[in-house]
């Protein structure tokens, strides 16, 4: 894949990718954009081996998901919900997005549950596709979705 083709694909998919990472980062826009940039550079470096089968977005999401997991693993301590609330409310995302409660509720989920829930509800992927992107079994995805949905409904009082 040439650089021009890669950039053309990215221009088409970047908004979906950033939205996915924004949900994974619980509304922290700067973090999400940094991860998106890292993921896109990784994708560019491995684009020589990419075979275009019309699944560029899934391929990109898989790289973004792995980048997110690596980023999470590199963080030594986790912040409390209160700290998260303070962080989220101080970011630019607060002004742009009304549904901060959803981001705060997403923060209570484990990263894998959060990813599955986001891919399922925000990006519209089915279980098989989510299993491919997250490199897990379909049964594991179903469990993550079920647990994640219950937790979210409880937190959001739906």
């Amino acid at each position: 894949m040439t650089r021009e083709v890669f950039i053309a694909h990215v221009e088409r998919e970047q908004e979906a990718l950033r939205g996915f990472l924004l949900a994974l980062c619980c509304g922290k826009k700067d973090d999400a954009d940094d991860l998106a940039q890292d993921a896109l550079v990784k994708a560019y470096l491995s684009s020589a081996g990419y075979q275009d089968k019309g699944k560029f977005r899934s391929w990109l999401f898989k790289i973004a998901y792995n980048t997110f997991l690596n980023h999470k693993a590199s963080l030594r301590c986790t912040e409390s919900i209160d700290e998260a609330r303070a962080l989220v409310s101080s970011t630019k995302a607060d002004a742009e997005f009304e549904h901060q409660d959803l981001y705060l509720a997403l923060r209570t989920l484990a990263p894998k549950e959060r990813s599955s829930i986001t891919l399922f509800y925000l990006n519209g992927y089915n279980i098989k596709e989510i299993a491919t992107i997250t490199d897990t079994s379909e049964d594991a995805v179903k469990k993550q979705l079920s647990r994640g949905r219950d937790k979210l409904k409880e937190k959001l009082k739906l």
Partner: protein
């Protein structure tokens, strides 16, 4: 698995729309330029490394061949080197000069071959790293 309607509506309602797409793409282009620069630099380093290795290999083969030819061309009953000191050890060295020289040359050639193999492996590893950095699999 069925979607939960309330959750789906909530997610769809919060679907973000970014107003800074142009800035994001400009930042990405800058990063890709930097990546290209580094890639070119790494490729140039590999090329230089390769040239040096080929030169070392050629010099090693030629000098090894000349040394062996010299050893073979000297008369068998004349020592290859003489030490004008008469102690037991030095005399032993002079008597076995041909064997010692042949062993030394063999060791040098073996060392040369091992270092060439090691260099080839390094180059292959560098290439794999270059290709695989940023691969889909979790690094």
């Amino acid at each position: 698995m069925m979607k939960d309607k309330a959750l789906e509506d909530l997610f769809l309602a919060q679907k973000p729309h970014f107003s800074d797409n142009a800035e994001f793409m400009a930042a990405l282009t800058k990063r890709l330029d930097a990546v290209e620069y580094l890639k070119q630099h790494q490729e140039a380093t590999i090329r230089r490394y390769k040239m040096l290795m080929v030169a070392a290999f050629v010099v090693g083969v030629i000098s090894g061949a000349i040394s062996i030819a010299y050893v073979l061309s000297t008369p068998v009953d004349v020592p290859l080197f003489t030490l004008h000191v008469e102690t037991d050890i030095l005399l032993w060295l002079v008597e076995n000069s041909r064997l010692i020289t042949a062993t030394g040359l063999s060791l040098l050639l073996t060392f040369g071959i091992v270092s060439i193999i090691s260099n080839v492996q390094d180059i292959l590893r560098m290439r794999v790293c270059l290709k695989a950095s940023g691969t889909v699999a979790q690094e």
